[in-house]
């Protein structure tokens, strides 16, 4: 344990002091801040258009009132009644709208007919104007009906409205977006950091420090120390980025919820237990790829051979991405199978759980399979690592070396 903690601490400090860690963490924080700033400014730009109401009619004198309209949504319009009783001529109002770059609607009455004269520079959406027209018409009709002696009950019967209720059986895109983003980040980190551990092993392979290590420490604590220290780096980076977002949300007056809803992301779909599962699956996923890559890389010698091993494993990692796209549509059989295969299960099972396809029971089974497989991979990896890391012959010789290590040699002089 002491040996493990010594190696673990050394490698963790080594990673934390590396320029790569600092640059990637900084980039992640900067990217998060930039996305928040851009989205926030975009939201500010998409404020509701103010429409000044001017009344030149007698019929609407008691109707056009901010108190009456405040309960009605006018789409993207923000009604302003400060110019309600303005008696300027239309030409003066046009000039004013032009000078002050505002939109004005003037209610005018001519021969018993009420007209809405909209003065704007094309910023007003006419669906919203139509809405304003209908609401005003309805209020006017109600007022006239009551004046004609129709009882409120009869009036309510006449004005029966038909409401629209929509039940969407497909997945809510907003609920899927957050898990899918986390899913993509998980795949990226698994590939990136398992590759990082490959580089560490490749370095040990090409550097005789391993011979000193091998004469100082047992293989398993060394192997696990290198791999686990590397595993913590993405978790630390995600945490730092999370703190950065939290600071922006709490101290820089960014409306995080509004930003996320505007981007179609429902963060409410990610609760604490999902986050914990995310970290667990991220680590387990990393270990699968890391143990496989590092044990295989430790038995080859040339840099091109190292790439030949690392690249196909990374390609297998990318398969998870395509499986994740299927998850956006439906919970298919292939998705279920992949959520139990260790090479794909960490990310796919997380996505299935976060989308509501899989229950906690399935998650536990998947985690158990992963842990068992990873224990086996760790022991196998440590063995190959120890035997392979200080061997500099070709692979065929190495395999025969492993195979013949327990055989009694004949013809020994």
């Amino acid at each position: 344990m002491k040996e493990f903690s010594t190696v673990f601490t050394f490698y963790l400090r080594k990673h934390l002091r590396s320029k790569g860690f600092m640059i990637i963490t900084l980039l992640m924080c900067v990217a998060a801040v930039i996305v928040m700033v851009i989205t926030n400014s975009f939201l500010n730009d998409s404020k509701k258009e103010t429409l000044y109401i001017v009344n030149h009619t007698e019929a609407l004198r008691d109707i056009l009132d901010s108190d009456i309209y405040q309960n009605d949504s006018m789409g993207d319009l923000q009604l302003d009644f400060s110019m309600l009783n303005n008696e300027d001529l239309n030409s003066d109002l046009v000039k004013k709208a032009k000078d002050k770059k505002v939109s004005i609607v003037v209610f005018e009455e001519e021969d018993g007919q009420i007209t809405m004269n909209v003065i704007d520079k094309g910023k007003i959406n006419y669906t919203d104007i139509s809405l304003l027209q209908n609401v005003t018409k309805q209020i006017l009709q109600t007022k006239n009906a009551i004046k004609s002696g129709i009882s409120p009950e009869v009036l309510q019967e006449i004005n029966t409205t038909i409401n629209i209720k929509n039940t969407n059986t497909s997945l809510d895109e907003g609920s899927v977006a957050a898990p899918f983003i986390l899913f993509l980040v998980m795949i990226l980190f698994i590939i990136l950091y398992s590759n990082s551990s490959v580089n560490e092993i490749a370095y040990l392979k090409t550097n005789r420090v391993m011979e000193i290590f091998s004469t100082s420490i047992k293989p398993l604590p060394l192997y696990l120390g290198v791999n686990i220290a590397t595993a913590l780096i993405p978790v630390i980076q995600l945490s730092i980025t999370g703190v950065c977002i939290w600071i922006m949300n709490n101290f820089v007056n960014f409306d995080f919820d509004k930003i996320n809803s505007s981007m179609g992301i429902k963060l409410s779909s990610i609760d604490f237990s999902t986050l914990v599962l995310y970290i667990v699956f991220l680590l387990l996923g990393y270990f699968v790829y890391s143990f496989i890559s590092t044990s295989l890389v430790s038995i080859v010698n040339r840099i091109e051979d190292i790439n030949n091993i690392a690249v196909p494993i990374a390609m297998i990692g990318l398969i998870q991405y395509f499986i994740g796209i299927i998850a956006l549509q439906q919970d298919s059989l292939i998705l279920k199978i992949c959520s139990y295969i260790p090479l794909t299960s960490p990310s796919v099972m997380f996505l299935r759980y976060a989308c509501g396809y899989a229950g906690i029971g399935e998650v536990v089974v998947s985690i158990c399979i992963l842990i068992v497989v990873e224990c086996m991979l760790a022991f196998l990896g440590a063995h190959l690592f120890t035997r392979g890391i200080s061997y500099y012959g070709n692979l065929k010789e190495f395999l025969s070396l492993i195979g013949s290590s327990k055989k009694k040699k004949k013809n020994i002089i």
């Binding site: 400090r13 080594k14 000193i212 100082s216 420490i217 010789e397 070396l401 290590s405 002089i413």
Partner: protein
């Protein structure tokens, strides 16, 4: 007092026999060298001894009993240098010291002691890549000695050193020997080996050609020679030129020295230096393991 014995070591790589029945020993208070051509099996023997490779046959005796070497008591300097080039020197030395069982305080004290002894205190917090090759070699040597090992195995300790640093390393190895350390040195620099080691094991094509003291080796494989140097013309004398202005005459029996000396004195040549000695280790080595045509 420690003694390590390697008996009947055999190691195969697949069908290739890399080490075949090699025997040697090294003990406290004297220096033992292991020599051989490239690929002769020196490093494989050392790796088997260290447990980096599993031997196919043979036994290792530590102080007379069959047991594995205690890693914590071994200091090993690998043939090709191996440390983290982009890492601070003090951090990696502390890691290696702690892996050898030292606590943090003792490790730091030991690092300070050795860094000052090697006169590289100013580089303590620098990355290894910022140091010259000679200074990197010093750091590598500190990594070998930082935990005060009883058994020290040095694989090519003098490679890449300038004459001053080489002398420093020689003095250090002698000092370690006087402090009772059990030291095995693998090197191709036979002139150095001859100057500092008492015992030698010569390996050729995986087999042990000789194992024993260097003096016995010279007595066994070398005649006496009369050596002299002169700027004069040596025509007319039956001499062998073995270097610039340097000559030697093989003595077929011990009494022949005075006869040959008189011959030279009676000639007209102006002798600058003259002496009697055997072939050096380099020449005996070539004689023993060189390809005979």
């Amino acid at each position: 007092m420690n003694k390590v014995e390697v008996n009947g070591l055999v190691k195969y790589y697949g069908d290739f026999c890399a080490v075949n029945d090699v025997n040697f020993s090294f003990s406290s208070g004297k220096l033992t060298a292991i020599c051989g051509r490239n690929g002769s099996g020196k490093t494989t023997s050392i790796r088997c001894l260290l447990g980096l490779l599993k031997e196919d046959k043979g036994e290792f005796l530590v102080n007379g009993s069959k047991q594995e070497l205690d890693f914590k008591k071994i200091g090993y300097l690998p043939e090709e240098r191996g440390l983290f080039v982009k890492e601070r020197i003090d951090f990696q030395l502390e890691l290696l010291a702690r892996l050898k069982g030292m606590n943090k305080k003792d490790a730091r004290e030991s690092i300070d002691y050795w860094i000052n002894k090697f006169d590289i205190a100013q580089y303590k917090t620098k990355k290894l890549e910022n140091l010259s090759k000679g200074n990197q070699q010093k750091v590598q040597m500190i990594a070998t000695l930082v935990h005060n090992p009883d058994i020290i195995i040095l694989d090519e300790p003098f490679s890449g050193l300038d004459p001053i640093n080489m002398q420093f390393f020689i003095d250090l190895i002698k000092e370690l020997k006087e402090n009772g350390k059990c030291i095995l040195v693998s090197s191709h620099q036979l002139a150095l080996i001859e100057g500092i080691c008492e015992d030698i094991c010569i390996i050729n094509k995986g087999k042990c050609v000789y194992s024993g003291s260097i003096i016995d080796l010279q007595n066994k494989y070398s005649s006496d020679y009369l050596y002299f140097s002169t700027k004069s013309d040596v025509k007319g004398l039956d001499v062998e030129e073995y270097g610039p202005l340097s000559y030697r005459i093989k003595l077929n029996n011990p009494d022949e020295f005075n006869k040959k000396l008189n011959e030279i004195m009676n000639s007209s040549i102006d002798v600058e230096t003259i002496g009697r000695k055997k072939l050096n280790l380099q020449e005996i080595f070539v004689e023993l393991v060189g390809d005979k045509k």
